[in-house]
Amino acid sequence: MVGFFCTYSPEEIFYAFDILPVRILGSHEIQDVTEPHLFAMFCPFCRDVLAQGLKGKYDYLDGITIGQSCLHLRQAYTSWDIHKNPGWSHYLVMPNHVQSPRAVPFLVAEYELLIKSLEELTGKQITDSDLRKGIELMNRVRRVMKDIYEFRKQDNPPITGLEAMYMCCSQFFTDAREWLPVAEEAKKELETRKLDRDPGLRLMLVGSENDDIEFIQMVETLGERESVGATVVIEEHCTTTRYFWDEVDESFDDPLLAIADRYVSRTPCPSKDWPQRSRLQRILKFAKDFNVDGAIVIQQKFCDPHELDIPFIRKSLEDNGIPTYFLEFDVTTAVGPFSIRVEAFLETLEAEDDLF
């Protein structure tokens, strides 16, 4: 089992080696072990992730890897590598200039280095056929998630945002081969499922890494306590759509090239989204397709890549008639204070033009 720190790790290749890739996430608990290792100006998520390693919560791993992404998470990886290296580690140099035609050939060469390193770890050699199996498996995972997300377009979605987040996160910690039948079954169930709740306003979440179950639960149960309620119908996070929305093109002759092409052309982390801000189009399309009433722009405290985009994302959403609300998050702080703010935002969405 190999732990990965960011969604730029090609799970297809790990599955080709019959290795189980496990995404490392935080525990949302107040942690007290990272201070000597990570300067406080780096995001709480990367600190929370590192804390898991330092506290031995992932001691079952045989290795760790990262696909080069933001500087924050890289530090969680490198500190883990220094202090808790399970015996194998690999830094995958994922290109940042993903809009350049030079990125795919570069990434193929980096994948070859990764494969060489995995051969040393496993003592195995893989074939194109193994890679195709990995691609097929991960594409099936992506497809079923997208199919399930289709249900969220309904006026009264049969799946809540909370459940959707559980679905996405469960995949990170489960063997995809075991996860798929359960997800397929859930998909079937959704065809007839009716939820006995008022969906309220339709919200989109946009921003940094977010697996904050407690926050989503708070938003979606506001209607039970207050005069306004809401359902999260879509998110643009690296725990959800940025992770699974784009498939590997299975028509490529060279499977490694196909995988590289997918990771280069997927909806990028903002740290790689230049010179064009391509994420914007995906966000606006989501807003339209999922018929959202408003968007909450969520930022992990100190998350520079998102901070660099936020003023422009907000402007673009507002220019397109989608009210936005900005929340700075800290994965380890309580959700309570956010409740009042989200409620106030929802009230503004419901407000009539007249004050009286």
Partner: protein, 437 residues
Amino acid sequence: MSKYPSEPLKCWNKAKELRNKFYKNFSDAKDKGGIRWMGSAWAFDAVPAGLGEDVWCITGEPYGATCAFNRPVSAKFLEAAENFGFARDLCSYMRNYWGSILTNQYALGGEFPRADFAWSQHICCSHAKWYQNACELEGGNVPLFAVDVGAGACPPFEPEMYEHRVRYVADQLLDGIEWMQKVTGREYNDELFFEAAWNDIRSTNKWANICLLNMAVPAPLDEKSIYSFYVFGTLQKSNPEFADLYDELYDEVKDRVDRGIAAVANEQARVMTDTQPPWGFLKIYRYLESWGAVSIGSLYTFGLEGMWLYDEEKNDLRPRPIPAKRPETREEACMMLADWHLSKPEYQHFYHPDYKTKMMDAIAKNWKCDGIILHYNRGCEGLSMGIAENRLGLLERGNKVMTYEGNMGDEHEFDEQATINRIDIFMESMGLKRPAG
């Protein structure tokens, strides 16, 4: 009583004039029908040189530092950036730069000169995004090209300098040349490019050789003075006048070493630092000197632009030798520049803090440092990356380490008195005596 003879640097005024000329050239470029570009201090500035001899640039980091040095102006710029919606914890150079655009005020006087295009590189999360946003703030029609240099570490931290990594960067440079011709409508002059590429290599090699001279006891240069000279590499390392200045400076520093001229006449102890200083508070370096401590430099000042090779067996850093011959084709020049810059010491910690710890330890040992002062710099996530692990690694290697928290470009995040108190304790722990008065 002074322990060593000391004297001011002779080329100080020339350096000052060249720096002023650089910023004036950028603001006056349009009067001469020239082209302006903006970009990172790590941009391959030799490449736009092929567009002609009337091409001028501004590099964001030294410009941000210049803003920060003038605290009232900086406060205005930072406020403008925050009012626009940018987070306060973003790179403070970047916020000063954007604030300068938003207030339409050039820190060196007059209105902010708009660039014709942006030409940057990208290794920290902010580099390309800085200019993506600057282009939008300048009206949205300024084109941007950024070269990704996050292509992996160099030997000995990797088994080899993989050809595909050098090729990746070189190919982007080649694409950049085509792009530049398109956005400026100018024909590219390869001869000018080759000359500029060679000046880049010359100046970054010579800077490393200058810093090497600071191994001498007494140190011929103190870090506050080093800041005034290293900046030329960040302004435009391919500028022939800057490369010539470094030749001149080398001769002068060499002469100081031969004659035993000290930067700090009372040198009793040597320290090294890390990352950018809080630019509005450089007086802390003079305070160190009052204790008899000279800051001999840092991996930051030595290796931000200077080119070195790290020898793991000897735990030593030596200037990277200049290539055997000048480039003769466009592709050769791009490959040469890519290969040269991928070995930049200050790129290596982006992949692992251990790489930086090793190089810092090599400086500490070979430049005979008694202590290391780390600036936990809230203003720069790129160069503060891994700094906490650097601290642990340096302690483990037997170094004395002090840290202080601050911000290179935002005075709100620097506590002067608390820093002075820390310095006092650190100096005492090194066996120095508190200065009289």
